[in-house]
Symmetry: C2
Subunit: 411 residues, 2 copies
């Protein structure tokens, strides 16, 4: 007998038939005696339909009014799911973000949750009802409707679980859990039973698009056990939780993330004087271009090569900016490469284990793969390589760290 | 410089193009210096789409959850209209029924407005904004979303006008006013400049479907000047208002209403004893059949013929009921006719003028039209005739009462 907050995304509620399937699933959990709070997204396609309506009036609609329009998508789903549950004899009641008092700031379109009043939900649960809450939305201090931005329904789920001190926040999606790496690249990729919040954050930010990053941060901050499961298949999914105490039995790394969305730019022969990094990255940031990895090496001749990566879509724009400021920097030249890929090993286990990075480099060298950039954090090592070697590198690392074996024990 | 509440119905906001046309219209009024509160319906077709979604789950969805779903239709329109106004440089802000605090009872699907908090709207108006309110919806004391039932947006408009003491509530629709009769039947039918609330109520209940009856009642009760105008053409429309003082200049009748939705049933040879009307109409009413006109005549032989009309769809069902109780009533037989029509003349002028009914009967007799039933109220005379004479009767009466002439003066 537990209290679960379950979130079902747009694909899981994409049609009346799928909403009925969710209702069946929820009924099953209810019959096991669990208390349930269900968070739903808009039916898939609906949010885009609403955006198109508004955009056909103007390219720059007021963000406040966009939120008024967009929030209707989830509102339709909550009503339909409540009806589908009641049809099955399961008492249910739906609430919009405003009704259940999910208070946010007034940053329309990307609002942040500040407070949730749990009284109404607790009362419904006590009276035996399943509570259904519209994801992705809230209300500001003026009573205006706000939305949390794309993927915000995950955040709604986690925030509700935190407010209600739920036993678990379960995110139902179209994958059955978090994998050691992408199964389309490595066929021995294995579903992880558990992963830590920190690892999940690194995996998510590196391109494993299972969960919205904000929801993982939120879950970590409030220590809400988070589980990713499939809406369409049975199975335990992956539990995302705090780091365990017994690190001895932790695998060194949990997974391999990668992406091919980035491009690399280098300013060669920059005078190695204070403030040069700012002089290079200032204009880039002013153009609203996000920078990911940054590497700087000092050469013998008092000059340095400054390399960083940006999203591949921003490659040409960034190159233009750098070429414009090259002369005033006193730099020799600008070079770039948009045929790169980033591969990362992630795992809290590497904190207590030396030699993880060198094992990674050895595995890549063994396959003849040249490393162009290296960046490390406490629980991750990332390298940039030529894009053509991406699959080869991921498979080599997956095998080198024995990720296809269950319960890999630290060496 | 006035305060107008303007209501635009589903056809007027049926597409993004039409919403932009409404925005143009509103901008024009704003430029004349008027304060404006705009009430909108769902885009035409949207409410039916939402009903279909819910009905595909169950034929009897919870009324509370239906209201959660249905209210999204208007919510999309208010956001789109606000965006269209802001695009034109007209400051605007949208509100759902709940946000602007349109308090209703909890009769989901047919809720009644109890209170409106006008503070927020007044503040926006004072700050120079056009206020846009979702029609058809409100919120009950528990914070649950309610809807007022079909046509409820008219009621929202009138209620807002009453709360704000607006100079006029203007209902924009696809007709350009209230006519002396249906222009498709009488080509000299004339748009009325003015009509009283009472006359409008009689016209509306008799089948002139320009305004929802409840909104007219509401306007009469709170003395809100109500104007019906066309969304698509310019023109003054028809003002619905309190009876004027100078009845000398009132035309005797204002219009001719008719409908062919009814059927007539007669129980012949009923013993003329107390309680017989109840014995006949009790079982009919128990079957949820609404009765309109009722006529009873006493015959010489201590029996009576009891005649009444019902909606044509209920004809067979009613006949079955009557045949079942015929014997226990001691009645001779049951007869019925569903090829009838009801024609009514309506006008407050007839209060102070004798001979209106006889003039009506003379005009019908002149055309050889037999009158099957007669029913009168203070400002209306209705007759039932054979359906085939309907158009002939309406034209004859329109001409007899000189409705095609402007400002007909009492004889």
């Amino acid at each position: 007998m537990a209290l679960y907050v379950q979130k079902y995304g747009g694909t899981s509620v994409g049609s009346v038939e799928r909403i009925e399937a969710v209702a069946e699933k929820v009924k099953g959990f209810r019959e096991q005696g669990h208390d349930l709070v269900i968070v739903v997204s808009a039916m898939s396609g609906e949010t885009n339909r609403l955006i198109q309506l508004a955009k056909s009036i103007t390219d720059e609609p007021s963000t406040r009014e966009m939120d008024v329009i967009m929030s209707t998508g989830e509102q339709v789903t909550i009503g339909l799911l409540a009806i589908a549950l009641e049809k099955r004899g399961v008492p249910a009641r739906s609430y919009t973000g405003a009704q259940v008092s999910i208070r946010t700031d007034s940053a329309y379109g990307k609002a942040r949750i500040q407070h949730i009043d749990d009284q109404r939900i607790r009362q419904d649960l006590a009276e035996g009802r399943v509570v259904i809450v519209a994801g992705f939305q809230g209300v500001d201090d003026n009573g205006s409707i706000t939305t949390l931005g794309r993927g915000g329904s995950d955040t709604t789920g986690v925030a509700l679980a935190a407010a209600l001190k739920a036993d678990e926040c379960q995110i139902y999606t179209d994958v059955d859990g978090v994998y050691t790496t992408d199964p389309r690249v490595v066929d021995t990729a294995r579903r992880l039973d558990k992963i830590t919040f920190e690892e999940m954050l690194e995996m998510a930010s590196l391109g494993s698009k299972v969960l919205q990053i904000r929801s993982v941060e939120f879950a970590g901050k409030y220590n809400v056990p988070l589980r990713v499961l499939s809406s369409f298949a049975d199975g335990p999914g992956t539990l995302i939780t705090l780091e365990e105490e017994d690190t001895v039995e932790k695998p060194i790394i949990s997974g391999i993330a990668f992406n091919r969305d980035e491009a690399k730019l280098t300013v060669l022969g920059v005078p190695d004087i204070p403030g040069v990094a700012y002089k290079i990255l200032g204009p880039v940031s002013d153009a609203n271009i996000e920078v990911d990895m940054i590497v700087q090496n000092v050469a013998a001749d008092q000059t340095t090569d400054f390399t960083f990566t940006v999203h591949r879509n921003d490659f040409d724009k960034t190159k233009d900016i750098l070429q414009r400021i090259c002369a005033e920097l006193g730099a020799r030249e600008v070079s770039g490469n948009n045929k790169i890929a980033k591969v990362s090993i992630v795992g809290v286990g590497m904190r207590s284990h030396a030699g993880v990075a060198s094992k990674m480099f050895a595995a890549l060298a063994h396959e003849g793969i040249n490393i162009q950039m290296i960046s490390t954090s406490e629980i991750k090592v990332s390298v940039v390589i030529a894009e053509k070697y991406l699959e080869l590198a991921v498979r080599a690392l997956h095998s080198a760290f024995e990720l296809d074996k269950v319960d890999t024990i630290a060496e």
